[in-house]
């Protein structure tokens, strides 16, 4: 483990939707360069958990610190926190009325205040990294799902975040497009990006993750290295989950 302060730290985080408890005493530390994979059955709170990290969802108890800044109701600088935390969504959420290039330039120009020429050059660099520079002037609706998701990844990267959150990035894709998105994510991991990924792609978890976190019913059941997690899980619940998703 890194000796420096973690980029993300969750301490006894709990969250309720009305009377329904979505998260229960979640603890998690993510250090610079780490890749964390979060998995679990549907409704286990994994999406809710990742969405509290940039405060798209508010938590009610415990502490969440991002870059050392505590997230709370009265905070004035949530935008600063979010600029440093990229997020990729299940349904891409690209801006359909803007071209790919405009999508990539929006954040840097309007939020970070970077000059347009610089933002454009930057955007093209990232489009090349996700291997679709030729689509720069198309609209998102003209691209395949896999291409849209790669644009979404590039859009987040253009903000130069310190950590990237992936919320089931391949779940809405046709099967043949999953690998192009996973390849992009693997390259990103190899470049040393700090990543938290909610995903059902167990191959990705095994080969990329430093740690795998298994959640059920809003709680972290198990936190383990991928090798141990898949071959020798500590908890019965984990074993059952793995047997269900790996049987074919």
């Amino acid at each position: 483990m890194n000796s420096a302060a973690p980029i993300i730290e969750m301490k006894n985080v709990s969250k309720w939707y009305g009377s329904y408890r979505a998260l229960t005493d979640v603890n998690l530390s993510v250090y610079e360069g780490e890749k964390i994979v979060v998995c679990g059955p549907s409704g286990s709170g994994k999406s809710t958990m990742i969405r509290t990290l940039n405060w798209l969802e508010a938590h009610q108890e415990g502490d969440i610190l991002v870059n050392g800044i505590r997230l709370h109701r009265q905070m004035r600088n949530i935008a600063e926190v979010r600029m440093d935390v990229g997020m990729v969504f299940q349904h891409f959420n690209l801006f359909p009325h803007m071209t790919v290039l405009q999508n990539l330039m929006a954040g840097p120009v309007w939020v970070r205040g970077i000059p347009e020429a610089e933002a454009r050059a930057n955007a093209m660099t990232y489009l090349e990294r996700v291997r679709i520079p030729e689509q720069a002037d198309k609209y998102p609706g003209q691209l395949s799902g896999g291409q849209q998701q790669r644009v979404a990844i590039a859009r987040s990267l253009c903000m130069k975040p310190r950590v990237m959150l992936f919320d089931e990035p391949t779940s809405a894709l046709d099967p043949e497009m999953v690998s192009e998105v996973l390849d992009t994510m693997i390259e990103l991991a190899n470049d040393g990006m700090t990543m938290v990924c909610v995903t059902h792609e167990m191959g990705f978890a095994r080969s990329v993750a430093d740690r795998v976190i298994f959640m059920d019913a809003g709680q972290v059941i198990e936190e383990n290295t991928p090798a141990e997690f898949f071959d020798n899980p500590r908890h019965e619940r984990t074993r059952l989950f793995l047997s269900q998703i790996l049987q074919h």
Partner: protein
């Protein structure tokens, strides 16, 4: 166009039972109207003799002839191609409409002498009052929509009271309330600003709901994506949400504009010299009311047709852009 079936069933009006039913129905109806002693009946005089004395026989014969013509017309049109059908129906209805006006025995010389003033003064005033009002109403609507969607109780309270009040009162009453009510507060307002204010507030209330629906139709994901990159509320609204809502907001706003063009006639009651005011006053002196009313009616109609064409252009523009 509705989603048409691939199977064609053939025109109903070509089936003998339907033709027979139309014939009988029209004959009965037209006989009931008793057209024997009218203009049409006079054309029939070689058959029915003196229309004055022909009685039921005259009514029936006239009705029958008209029914045959009408049925043949309907069945005949059904043989044609769709655009031709539409064109002929339009022309026939328009001729009926002209016939209706012709029956008023209009003085066209009188119309010719007044129409230029009606256009330069009346149409001009109607258009600029409507255009200013719809622009201001759009601004009111954006603010109202944001207030109605906000979790600020104060803003929501004002906005919902505003829409409830101005949608709940007749526009005519609002015009009076503003024109006659504001001077009570010590602020004397001219007729034109009062009219614009009334139209703005009334249509702003309706359009608040249009804008609110447009904004709400944009998925949460768009908000989340913008927020996750550090966009503030204003930036998200201006750059992400409103541009996407526009295709949904503009068609009903066009409708509102057409409606406002005609509702602007209500400000004539406070003496704004727009089209309706002129239509009522110009004919007064010579007791030529119908001439002016019909002229104004046609001008309103023409203006509306122009706006409808513009609106469908804009709709097509947004439809092609979003795909």
């Amino acid at each position: 166009m509705l989603y048409a079936d691939t199977v064609e069933s053939g025109a109903a009006v070509h089936r003998p039972p339907v033709i027979l039913a139309m014939l009988l129905g029209f004959t009965a109806l037209l006989t009931f109207f008793g057209l024997g002693n009218t203009l049409v009946g006079h054309f029939m005089s070689p058959v029915i003799g003196d229309p004055e004395t022909a009685g039921f026989y005259g009514d029936f014969a006239t009705g029958l002839v008209l029914a045959v013509l009408l049925t043949a017309n309907i069945s005949g049109i059904a043989f044609l191609r769709l655009p031709v059908q539409i064109l002929i129906v339009w022309i026939e209805l328009f001729l009926l409409f002209l016939g209706f006006f012709y029956s008023f025995d209009l003085n066209f010389e009188f119309i010719r002498s007044k129409v230029w003033f009606m256009i330069t003064q009346g149409v001009f005033t109607t258009l600029y009052v409507s255009a200013i009002s719809i622009t201001l109403a759009s601004v009111v609507a954006i603010i109202g929509a944001v207030a109605k969607l906000s979790s600020n109780g104060f803003a929501f309270g004002i906005a919902s009271f505003y829409t409830s009040f101005f949608r709940g009162l007749p526009l005519l009453m609002q015009v009076y309330l503003i024109y006659l009510g504001l001077p009570q507060l010590g602020y004397v307002i001219d007729a034109v600003p009062a009219g614009i204010l009334a139209l703005t507030l009334c249509y702003g209330a309706y359009m608040t709901e249009i804008f609110r629906a447009g904004i709400q139709s944009i998925s949460r994901g768009q908000w989340e994506a913008a927020r996750s990159m550090g966009f503030g509320f204003g930036l998200t609204m201006r750059r992400v949400i409103l541009p996407q809502s526009m295709p949904l907001i503009i068609p009903p706003t066009g409708n509102q504009f057409i409606a406002m063009l005609k509702d602007s006639s209500l400000v004539s009651v406070i003496g704004v010299w727009e089209l309706m005011f002129l239509a009522r006053t110009l004919g007064n002196k010579d007791f030529r009311h119908m001439e002016m009313l019909i002229t104004a009616a046609l001008i309103y109609w023409l203006l509306s047709i122009c706006l409808e064409l513009i609106q469908s252009r804009i709709e097509r523009f947004y439809r092609t852009k979003s795909h």
